[in-house]
């Protein structure tokens, strides 16, 4: 008798467990499907519209054509703006890499008085003085310096904003590179700048690559800084120019915008995933903040 109830109970428990398992599976699948829908549906337009002969705002399977890209390549403003984005991104990348590696190297190897405080302050400053919070004084400063409508000015402002983070991350990389090579280079009479260039930089290459990509991604998509500091459309980057593509009827020029958006997005997406795979910085703080 007791044996029977016992086995009944187990059977009941088992079926309850199976039900729970089934519900869990259902919940998991439904949730996954909803998440995918939420993240995929807005992007579909970017996949289909660039190849559609009659692109609308809605998502639909395209009447296939490359004509939108022809329209794009025949539009000098659009092409120039992509070039401008490249200038700003590469310019800022060079500035932060050069200044950042010099600074982080010296901070890593020499105990300058107040070093920790300096690093702490830098990190704090870069997180509280954001582009939005400092747009008014930055704008005025550039007016006074005569750097309004200058791409060089935009590069300086953007570099100043990301340099503290660059120094912070690069110092970590510099700290972890082996020091014995520098010692031997020094024994052979190499000067510090030469040691940095020939010995340290090659060793810290993964860190520098991470930073380079990070800087490019940050600047490539930045809207606010070039938006307030540049005046002429011929100097403006893609992020700003994109919002000037209207047809004569005052409607957004969807053929141009769709092809342009795709071309504008591909470099950063590709770079992110290539570097992510190669150096595996799956999680490096806010790679894009």
């Amino acid at each position: 008798m007791t044996a029977v109830t016992g086995s009944k109970r187990t059977a009941q428990g088992e079926s309850r467990q199976m039900l729970g398992h089934f519900l869990g599976l259902m919940g998991k699948s439904v949730f996954t499907a909803l998440v995918l829908a939420f993240f995929v549906i807005p992007v579909l337009w970017l996949v289909f519209a660039p190849f559609d002969a009659h692109p609308g705002l809605n998502v639909k399977l395209p009447e296939f054509t490359f004509n939108n890209f022809k329209i794009l390549f025949e539009n000098p403003t659009a092409i120039a703006s992509l070039g401008n984005s490249l200038i700003l991104a590469l310019g800022s990348m060079v500035v932060v890499l050069v200044l950042g590696s010099l600074a982080s190297y010296s901070l890593s190897r020499v105990k300058i008085p107040g070093r920790d405080l300096l690093l702490y302050t830098l990190l704090l400053l870069s997180s509280i003085i954001t582009g939005t919070a400092a747009m008014v004084p930055t704008f005025l400063l550039m007016v006074k310096l005569g750097l309004i409508d200058s791409q060089f000015g935009v590069i300086l402002v953007l570099s100043g904003g990301i340099l503290p983070t660059v120094i912070f991350i690069l110092k970590d990389f510099m700290d972890s590179t082996p020091k014995s090579y520098e010692e031997s280079a020094r024994l052979y009479g190499a000067k510090p700048l030469r040691i940095l260039w020939d010995v340290v930089i090659p060793l810290a290459r993964p860190g520098l690559a991470t930073i380079a990509v990070w800087a490019v991604v940050q600047v490539w998509g930045n809207f606010l800084v070039p938006y307030i500091l540049l005046r002429s459309p011929s100097k403006s980057p893609a992020s700003v120019v994109m919002y000037t593509f209207y047809t004569e009827g005052g409607q957004p020029n969807l053929a141009l915008i769709s092809a342009f958006s795709l071309l504008f997005s591909i470099p950063v997406v590709a770079m992110y995933f290539v570097v992510n795979r190669r150096y595996g910085f799956r999680f490096h703080g806010g790679i894009k903040s």
């Binding site: 190897r109 997180s127 004084p137």
Partner: protein, 306 residues
């Protein structure tokens, strides 16, 4: 270890210091100087200048542009008695709470948690698309959402059969909250999946052995391990969401200021209407709020390190 020869004494001391390249303090300073100069001029100086500008009646044009007057704390008094400022502050709080604290954190955690229990291929696909929203430049993502939410031709109305609902006009704040959740969830997802990976499987196993349900497992095993991450994540995304200007491209603060969050409010006040002094005063309030969030965050980081 043999005693070092007398001649190698000083150089050993230097090497212990870590200065293996013989940089020396003076040259180290010289290496550091260009970076510090750039940061001082384009990051620190603007922030300090905000302090001063906020006390003047500086304007973009007109007589106050040539001869700005010192007006003391008038700008702050004006700001604190201005309905538009409080409207903006209130909207910002709802925006940050809705899209960062609730939206990104909760969704990011839910995705990270679910993805530990699905096939690897599914996980890769989901993570790819969540990351994509984060990586695509903001000018493009805002246009994608503009198209999605369009009144007559938008995909959302077609999917939900909601007729001609003008989402951006009727629900501007809700729209930018959902949009910002969509853009930023990737960060929380990444942070929480690396946090969840650090929970020892053996502890989960034993919790399951003693018959703990999903909720009990989460509360007693998982949560204590990720508590620090939850705080880090909340503070960082709060800071970023508080400072984002991207919704400007979607609603420009409108209609009727109904999505006029602080960054957009400052932009319109200072650079559109030309009230630079007023705008600076509000910028300073923003910097102070940032300072509070960032200080708490850095203190937490320090505590965890020690």
């Amino acid at each position: 270890m043999t005693a070092p020869a007398a001649g190698t004494g000083p150089s050993r001391a230097v090497a212990d210091d870590g200065d293996v390249a013989g940089l020396g303090k003076a040259r180290a300073m010289a290496f550091l100087a260009p970076a510090l100069l750039l940061i001082s001029l384009f990051l620190v100086f603007p922030a300090l200048w905000t302090l001063y500008l906020g006390l003047t009646n500086y304007r973009l044009s007109g007589s106050a542009a040539k001869n700005p007057q010192f007006v003391g704390i008038d700008n702050y008094i004006n700001a604190l008695s201005d309905d538009r400022f409080f409207n903006s502050l209130g909207l910002t709080l709802i925006f940050v709470f809705g899209s960062a604290v609730i939206g990104q954190s909760a969704l990011g955690f839910a995705i990270a948690w679910t993805m530990t229990r699905v096939r690897k291929s599914v996980r890769a696909v989901v993570e790819f698309f969540v990351l994509l929203a984060w990586i695509i430049p903001s000018s493009v993502t805002t246009f994608l959402w503009y198209a999605l939410l369009d009144r007559s031709d938008g995909t959302l109305n077609a999917m939900l059969s909601t007729g001609n609902t003008a989402w951006l006009l009727d629900y501007p704040l809700q729209s930018i909250i959902v949009f910002n959740t969509w853009v930023g969830t990737a960060f929380s997802m990444l942070l929480f999946s690396s946090a969840l990976a650090s929970v020892p499987p053996s502890q989960l196993e034993s919790a399951r052995m003693v018959g703990a349900g999903a909720w009990a497992q989460f509360r007693d095993v998982v949560f204590p391990h990720i508590r620090g991450h939850v705080l880090t994540n909340t503070l960082l995304i709060t800071l970023w969401t508080f400072n984002t200007f991207t919704p400007y491209l979607l609603t420009a603060g409108g209609p009727d200021d109904r999505s006029n969050i602080l960054p957009i409010f400052i932009y319109r006040l200072a650079l559109n209407d030309g009230a630079l002094g007023q705008g600076s005063a509000i910028s300073l309030i923003m910097i102070i709020i940032n300072l509070v969030i960032a200080t708490v965050y850095l203190r937490l980081l320090k505590e965890r390190k020690s």
